[in-house]
């Protein structure tokens, strides 16, 4: 007989799908735009030089896309939620240092070329995503590929 789904399992699944969706969208928007565009956005944080910003812009969209897809499918869920969580913490640090230094960030580069929100709004938005990462880490293993392949 099938077990009735528990509320926390549904919550975990929804958190995984939502966060995975956000990463897929962010990665896709950037992967389908010229890397230079995202490179300029990274450069405006004044942490790394232009060359490194460009290399990061080539790499980051693919990492976001793969992480999002694996998270949504529930492949290595616990590792993936930690990984996406770590990325979000890194983004928060970047935003916070720009905020404190009063840098003029016209586009945060979060979702491609579109004009971004203010730094404070992006920072708050990332906190919500971090909460989703936590929920996905704690309860996200139900209805996942991890569970499906574990079945004999």
């Amino acid at each position: 007989m099938n077990k009735k789904p528990e509320k926390k399992d549904i919550l975990g699944l929804l958190a995984r799908l939502a966060l995975g969706g956000v990463f897929i969208y962010a990665g896709l928007m950037k992967a389908l735009s010229p890397a230079e565009e995202f490179g300029y956005a990274i450069e405006s944080y004044k942490v790394i030089n232009a060359q490194l910003s460009l290399w990061s812009a080539y790499l980051a969209p693919w990492i976001e896309l793969y992480a999002g897809l694996l998270l949504a499918a529930g492949v290595f869920t616990r590792f993936n939620t930690l990984f996406t969580g770590a990325m979000l913490v890194f983004f928060e640090i970047m935003l916070a240092q720009a905020w404190f230094r009063g840098l003029a960030i016209t586009s945060c580069g979060c979702f491609g070329s579109g004009k971004g929100n203010s730094i404070s709004l992006e920072f708050t938005q990332n906190l919500v995503f971090l909460a989703l990462a936590w929920a996905a880490h704690k309860y996200g293993s139900a209805y996942s590929a991890d569970k499906a392949v574990a079945k004999p």
């Binding site: 735009s33 010229p34 590929a145």
Partner: protein
Amino acid sequence: MTDRKNARLLALAGMIIFISTIAVLLARQFNIGPERPSPAFRTFGPVTAPVQIYEYTDFACPACRHAAAKIDEMIRIYGPGLRVSFKHYPLMNIHPWSMHAAAYADCAGEQGKFKEYGELLFEGQEKWAQAKEQPGEFEEYAVKLKLDWQKIQACANSPETLKTLKLDMSEGDMKGVNATPTFFINGKRAVGSGQLVDQARKFDNLLRAAKP
């Protein structure tokens, strides 16, 4: 058991990564994805036009000169049915001054004369395109159009102008543009004015429906 489970998950992860990579690369080639708008001075026709053309052009390329005449004719014939946005794609390996020409044209555009300056560049193409030293024609055209040449020079040397040009070029690279003029007519690729006319004919009903 754990080893087998991990192997299965690794295979699944590999498959997801492989398929998504191929899908994104194909989407780039087929021009699926957000289109970066051109600056307003490089765009002609109403936003609501049913047929949208993006042209990757190089002021030093003879085929682009012919295509410019064709595009002008189409704008005259189809009017509100058509919106044309120009993107720069200077082929610097064969045209040493085309990047300069693109920058000066954009800066003339800042002063409201992109089209006029572009027309002069195409007209005088043979004089400046293969010049050994900085051609005097760039200044000559600016003076002819009563533009502020000092301002144009400052603008052409600014990082912002360079950034705009580089973004156009890398967007073209990403879409597999390797010849000029390359057009995207409602997303469909056409290279050269012959293919442009052929592709545009496919949208004839839309173009005619929008006629005033």
